[in-house]
């Protein structure tokens, strides 16, 4: 079969609607498309005319899986525009709620969306039939992540307690203390997750990526720092649009993002880990080494181990924040609007999430730009598919199709996010 097509019409175990299309002609891959047919929702358009205080609540609705990321990027952008600084315990609480989202989202992806590919199951429910202890561990770990978001945010999906300037209500020390014992269990479960993912079989697939993520002088990045890459990029968050641009292609309702100078790049756990290994706590570094990872990781299939390592970090960081917590006098700092442009970026579980808003003197949004991680990863996902299929062109159709799906799921793509974004077809005539 020299000519054939690999097609997946509706890619499962990803968030949102997309498909894969790969065309093979005369034994070579000639076309690769990650098709995104998620209906566009036009967030940037209807953000115009809204109050700056509404951005965290409205942009959270871009994604039910990582609403905290949208809330964090938007509040940072608004505070930057208005010249407000949120630090101390309020800043720590923001990191804490982000820890909760990482634990929940990473655990969901590791065990329920990605692991079934490695183990040859259709879903986690099937895994539970053969290995109930694995899925029970996953659900309990995921729940502890959600419990953090619940306590701080009011609910796990579309939290209601985040506002420009801080929170509507700050938790008491005693309330946070209830999370300590579950988090100690979670840290052990996360370490067990690293050991579990290290036993999986990985294809030999090392790629020369340009990794892009935030980097902060003192900590593993969540909301602050500079945007850096392993190929020389080192810019302030406010310079993002000078270096990146979004392109609109026919086969996707999600815009493709590229580095103006060098094109395709890679955001997400692999990028964060490879650019910030030195900022991980010792317990996470040791777990990564024991799992066979170096200080960088360029095999996207091993992102499942990296997510587990980042879950170790998030549990450790949450425990640290709670131990140091003192309830602040005020749950928020007052932010007075002014006519200005503000930029915010944070590390969503899937990678860098950039927001930019222009406000008038009353704080009414004049225009908005939102660049989600999955739009930034579309080109690298297509590039991975091209290289992966090119080296495995002789594999039987059903096996190759499943492996193509897995290659996309490496990125934990969030298509609802990017549309403002996925469908899989592999084609041979």
């Amino acid at each position: 079969m020299k000519n054939r097509t690999i097609k997946v019409d509706y890619l499962a175990r990803v968030e949102g609607e997309g498909g894969i299309f790969v065309r093979i002609k005369n034994g070579a891959v000639t076309d690769v498309k990650l098709r995104i047919f998620e209906p566009p929702r036009f967030f940037e358009a209807f953000m115009r005319g809204r109050n700056f205080t509404e951005a965290p609540d409205i942009t959270a609705r871009i994604c039910g899986i990582c609403p905290v990321a949208y809330q964090m990027s938007s509040v940072h952008a608004m505070e930057q525009a208005c010249g407000a600084v949120v630090d101390g315990q309020l800043r720590a609480l923001r990191r804490l709620i982000y820890c909760g989202e990482w634990i929940e989202s990473h655990t969901l992806h590791v065990y329920m969306l990605h692991a079934p590919d490695f183990l040859g199951y259709q879903d986690a429910i099937q895994i539970a039939q053969d290995h109930p202890e694995v899925v029970k561990r996953a659900l309990r770990l995921k729940k502890i992540g959600n419990d953090i978001v619940n306590l701080l945010g009011g609910r796990e999906i579309h939290p209601i307690n985040v506002r420009v300037g801080g929170f509507y209500k700050a938790p008491t020390k005693a309330e946070l203390q209830t999370l300590v014992d579950p988090l100690k269990w979670a840290l052990d479960a996360a370490l067990e997750t690293v050991r579990f993912t290290a036993t999986l079989k990985f294809p030999d697939f090392e790629q020369d990526y340009e990794f892009v993520s935030l980097r902060h002088p003192d900590e593993y990045p969540y909301c602050e720092g500079r945007i850096v890459s392993n190929k020389g990029l080192d810019i302030a968050i406010s310079e993002y649009l000078d270096h990146f641009e979004e392109q609109h292609v026919e086969h996707s309702t999600s815009l493709h993002s590229v580095l103006k100078e060098r094109g395709v790049y890679h955001v997400g756990p692999l990028a964060r880990y490879s650019l910030n290994f030195d900022k991980l706590p010792k317990v996470a570094q040791r777990a990564a080494k024991a799992a066979g990872l170096g200080k960088t990781c360029t095999n996207p299939f091993k992102s499942i181990i990296v997510r587990a390592v980042e879950t170790v970090f998030a549990c450790h960081e949450a425990l640290r924040i709670i131990a140091d917590y003192k309830m602040p006098d005020q749950p928020y700092v007052k932010v007075t609007p002014k006519a200005a442009v503000g930029h915010g970026a944070s590390e969503a579980p899937r990678g860098l999430l950039y927001h930019r808003y222009r406000l008038d003197s009353q704080g009414v949004i004049q225009d908005a730009r939102i660049v989600p991680p999955t739009s930034q990863n579309q080109k690298v996902m297509e590039s991975d598919l091209y290289h992966y299929v090119s080296d495995r062109i002789k594999l039987p159709q059903d096996k190759l199709t499943w492996q193509c799906e897995q290659a996309i799921r490496n990125y934990d793509p969030c298509i609802s996010c990017s549309c403002h974004f996925l469908k899989l077809h592999i084609e041979g005539d």
Binding site: Y10, L11, A12, R13, E15, G16, P39, P40, R41, F42, F43, E44, A45, F46, R48, R50, N51, E54, D57, I58, R61, C63, G64, I65, P67, L108, M112, L113, Q122, D123, A124, I125, Q126, P132, V135, K136, L139, R140, K143, N146, G154, R155, E156, I157, H158, I160, N161, R163, Y168, K169, Q247, H248, V249, E250, T253, L255, P331, D367, E405, S416
Partner: protein, 259 residues
């Protein structure tokens, strides 16, 4: 086979953020029990496995925004015995229904460089505008315990027990002091359907309407109260125009204060 007797449940997605279907996976304590009692026959976000219809129950998330989806929803209806819409997108058009107040042609070029690639309808509409819906769960997002109650009720052949009063009733029941009376904080609680257990007031903020209009809401009176709290007409319009903007009572209430 035991599976043959379990009700077949399918989950469908239209324009949405995936949050409401994620609520099912967020039922960590109940998920394995639920999965044991039903046959999850079509749930792409969680499984590659697809069992052909017809389905005993379909859970539909998202609103109708494209010509293709306006066709697809009829296929889902034909394949489903009992169809439940879940969340503000499916029950009211969602936040993306903000386009309904503008001309969508003005929206596309703001986001997309090549408008000719984009196939979209002028309005984002609720599922019930297109097909018969048997039951709806409100919320942005839905309350996951409502979902467990729904599945449990259907398995036992009874009507789901879902609250339909106002958020105010929930505040009273949980002893939350009224944020509007005590702190002068504008709150949509009096006109918003219960379901969240009055979450926002318990965090010292006013309700912002996630569960949509309650039955017979007195929005005129509430808007006048908001004016007494010095809320501008623009902000009254914005308050009604969020996740349930195109639910009739909220739409009319917002239009009454539009310039």
């Amino acid at each position: 086979m035991a599976d043959k007797q379990k009700p077949k449940v399918a989950v469908w997605k239209f324009a949405s953020c995936d949050g409401c279907q994620l609520s099912l996976l967020d039922c960590e304590d109940e998920l394995l029990a639920v999965a044991g009692a039903i046959d999850i026959a079509n749930f792409p976000e969680a499984s590659r496995r697809v069992v052909k219809g017809p389905y005993d129950v379909s859970l539909v998330e998202g609103s109708i925004t494209t010509p293709h989806d306006a066709e697809r929803i009829h296929k889902v209806r034909r394949a489903s015995k009992f169809l439940v819409t879940i969340g503000a997108c499916a029950t009211a058009g969602g936040i993306q229904a903000l386009r309904n107040f503008k001309d969508v042609k003005d929206f596309i070029p703001i986001v997309y460089a090549h408008p000719e690639y984009i196939d979209t309808l002028g309005k984002s509409t609720a599922i019930a505008d297109h097909i018969h819906v048997d039951f709806e769960l409100r919320g942005c997002p839905i309350n996951k315990y409502h979902l467990v109650e729904l599945v449990s009720a259907l398995l036992n052949g009874r009507k789901p027990n879902i609250p339909t009063g106002s958020v105010c009733m929930e505040c009273k029941r949980r002893d939350t002091v009224c944020v509007m009376v005590a702190a002068g904080t504008p709150c949509l609680g009096p006109v918003t359907q219960a379901g969240c257990n009055a979450l926002c007031p318990s965090y010292n903020r006013g309700c912002f309407g996630c569960f949509g209009p309650k039955e017979t809401p007195n929005t005129n009176s509430l808007s006048e109260w908001w004016q007494k709290l010095q809320v501008t007409n623009d902000d009254i319009v914005r308050a009604y125009r969020s996740f349930n903007a195109y639910a009739d009572p909220f739409r009319k209430a917002s239009e009454a204060y539009e310039k």
